[in-house]
Symmetry: C7
């Protein structure tokens, strides 16, 4: 079973803490919002402007991304816990 | 008796819990907003931009969709309890 | 005496409870906002965009519509109690 | 002395209660906002869009209108108590 | 020393109470916001839309205007107490 | 060391009280927000509209301006205490 | 490992206090928001308007910038503590 996000929504599979620290990213322990790391597993067709034109998203399937800790809606799909969020909740791509 | 939603509104028939777990989606029990699963039974003609142009919706009759738990307005129509919501309340389509 | 609503406003005559249940719509008794049923008796010329272009409304005189319970402003006109609301308060048309 | 409202503003002379009930409009005594009846005595040149184009108003001098009870700013001009309000505060025209 | 307001700002010299009542305008003593009377002494070049186009103002130097009692910022310039406000704070022009 | 403000930001050097009163501007002591006087020392390239077009600012280096008392962010640069604010915080230019 | 910020986001490496005071900028100790100094290490492709057109950013890699003290999200990347913020959080460029 496949899930196709609508519009500017993106499905992200959170990476666990061990993978993160081994990957070189260590989240410091401060009061500030901490970004989390995850892998994009599905993207919508793009955001729609007022004139109906669709603007494709900048992230694509397979990208490793940073996103805000409280972003998105949790859902279990095919046994995995995933997050459905908007592309604007994603801060950038790790390359 | 038929119901035609206006503009970007969509009518969704919620699927019951049993069907959901057998379909592979299990909603984890966390404090986060949990998406619900339903079947689209009617869609509006589309959202209207400021210039009056109508942009057709991306969901269509028969789609199985995920939507936020508190989305929409409940109404009984032809003996069924349905939800009238905006397309933006729908997170994506299960294929 | 006739009343012509301005812009995107619509005049709706609420249908009483008996007619509603016999017509097949039963409003379940939950905490959610319950839609009401009514008949459109007058419509404005349409909403005006920023560029001054008028977009005609999708509802028309005689339509039976569902609208939110707390929508509109009550007024007595020609002995009838009517509601003046915006088209965006109307969820859809019963056909 | 004459008063010319700016942009989308309109000057309305409220009609007194007696005239209203004899004219067929009776305002029911509920908790909802009650519309009031008045006569338009002056209108602005129109609302201006972002591009500077002026869109003329739909109400004109002499129209009998319904407006929200708490709309507008009271001013005495030539011995009469008038209301200066925006056209969007006017619900419709009695014909 | 001269003062040139920016964009859609206008400089207004408030007229004192005596002049106002002799001029035919009497502000009734109610709880509503009372408009004040003043003379425009300087106007900006106009409001700028998103596309950078300047839309000239509708009021001009010398106009006698009504404005909301709490509008604008007080400043003493050349010995006079003046108000700097936006054109949208002005309700209309007395002719 | 030079500072170039971004977009529609402006750097203003506040003028001290003595210079202000000798210049003819006296700020009355009321509860209203009091405008302050300063000299523009640097301006950004302009505000950018949604379409990416840059609209140059109306104030320029050397202008003496009035601005709201609580506008801007204080910074010490080259020994001077300066304010970085947006052009929209500036009320007008003294000529 | 490299990080590519999305859209109008910018990665800034905060400069420590000593470098700042030797560089000529001294932040006065007031209640106002104090700007901080940092070096831009990565920039997004630009902000996207409603029509999908990308507007490149005005800051570039290597720029020394001032930004608000509470701007951005802290992240450790390659052993360095960096800030991910939007370009609009940046006040200007030190040259």
């Amino acid at each position: 079973m496949n899930f196709k996000p609508l519009h500017d929504r993106v499905v992200v599979e959170p990476l666990d803490q061990e993978e993160k620290t081994s990957g070189g990213i260590i989240i410091p322990d401060t009061a500030k919002e901490k970004p989390m790391q995850g892998k994009v597993t599905a993207v919508g067709t793009g955001s729609r402007g007022e004139d109906g034109k669709v603007v494709p998203l900048d992230v694509k399937e397979g990208d490793t991304v940073l996103y805000g800790k409280w972003s998105g809606t949790e859902v279990k799909l095919g046994g995995k816990t995933l997050l459905i969020m908007r592309e604007s909740d994603i801060m950038g791509i790790l390359q």
